[in-house]
């Protein structure tokens, strides 16, 4: 093995390794080198296990992510949503928590409103709808309230 060959092979190896690392970090990890988008907040009575990183969708299109989940002083759940700059939310937008499939992952669904006013970056979505708990639905049905 001559010296030039070792250098070439090590160089190639490092390149492939770095490419793999970059793919993992940028594509999968979505490491945001240039943070874009804006944040809005939404307070729910019950988010029932929704996790950080869950998608935010409008009409089934992913427009952002849940960046943080916190609890407020009055024991409600406050979500920080990070949204694409392109998405402009009207003031009467409704945020609800839904489930994909029966046991699928939770996500935040935004239903656009018709108000003239928009929610500015850092604003709060007032209208929220908590998780439809399967157990609650069933118990309502059993007790004949539906």
């Amino acid at each position: 093995m001559s010296r030039g060959n070792i250098e070439l092979l090590v160089g190639l190896f490092v390149l492939i390794g770095l490419a793999s690392l970059t793919y993992l970090a940028l594509h999968l990890g979505e490491l945001e080198l240039f943070s874009h988008g804006y944040r809005v907040y939404a307070v729910f009575d019950n988010i029932s296990g929704l996790k950080t990183g869950a998608p935010v969708e409008v009409a089934g299109v992913e427009v952002g992510k849940v960046e943080a989940v916190e609890m407020t002083q009055d024991f409600r759940a406050k979500l920080t949503l990070k949204l694409d700059t392109k998405v402009v939310l009207k003031e009467d937008t409704i945020a609800s928590i839904r489930t994909k499939g029966i046991i699928g992952d939770k996500f935040v669904k935004l239903t656009p409103g018709f108000s003239d006013k928009v929610i500015p970056p850092g604003g709060t979505i007032r209208e929220t709808e908590s998780v439809l708990e399967l157990e609650e639905l069933i118990s309502k049905y059993v007790h004949g309230k539906v």
Binding site: V10, G17, L18, L24, L28
Partner: protein, 256 residues
Amino acid sequence: MVALLRRLGCWALGLVREAGGMMLFLLEGLALAFVPPFRFRRLLQEMYLIGVRSVLIILLTAAFTGMILALQGFYTLKQYGSEGALGSAVALSLIREMGPVLTALMVSARAGSAVTAEIGIMRITEQLDALDTMAVSPMQYVVMPKLLAGLITVPLLTAIFDVMGIIGGYIVGVILLGLSSGIYFSEMVRSVVPLDINGGIVKSLVFGLTIILVACYKGYYTEHGAEGVSRATNQTVVLSAVLILAWDYLLTSFFM
């Protein structure tokens, strides 16, 4: 009873002494990286021996690991009707656990044992002493480039393992079992967060250093001729496997 306690005490003292010896050995080895001469060419050679020569075995292991994960995951997830999550199951298992651990185990089996044998033979044939009498530090000439090479190549090998494993999972999940390619990748992208990637990288750095440290230490303090070399090689493989798994538990509980 007293004899048993005494044996236990001796064993524990030996363990502490060995841990301390390794720590000092590591510090000396790493400190010498900052003292001239910098031995860039030796580093390249070691990166070739530890890194490049491990690529093939890593690719093979990774492809099969990804394929097995996809196969197992598919049938388990299917019972709950969420085959869609296959991509995320494969990627998370690979990035968090399988990638770092299996890469480390393969490198230790392939390169760790070779490093111990090489240094052990240099010890018993007095090559390390010869370096010393030529005013060349054996720690700096032999050990330091290996430690650095371990620190650099193992994380890169782990990244290659992860990507190859994802491709293996794709082959089974998408091509053989007919999952949609879009779902496989979008689920993956959605579920992997930067913390997973960082955790995987930190693990692989720790593992890389551990493997090569154990291998160099065991080789450097080889005694009693050829039999000693084979014993040291054996100890390297066993000790690094145990340390990798123990570290893995600690780091996982720290990160997750």
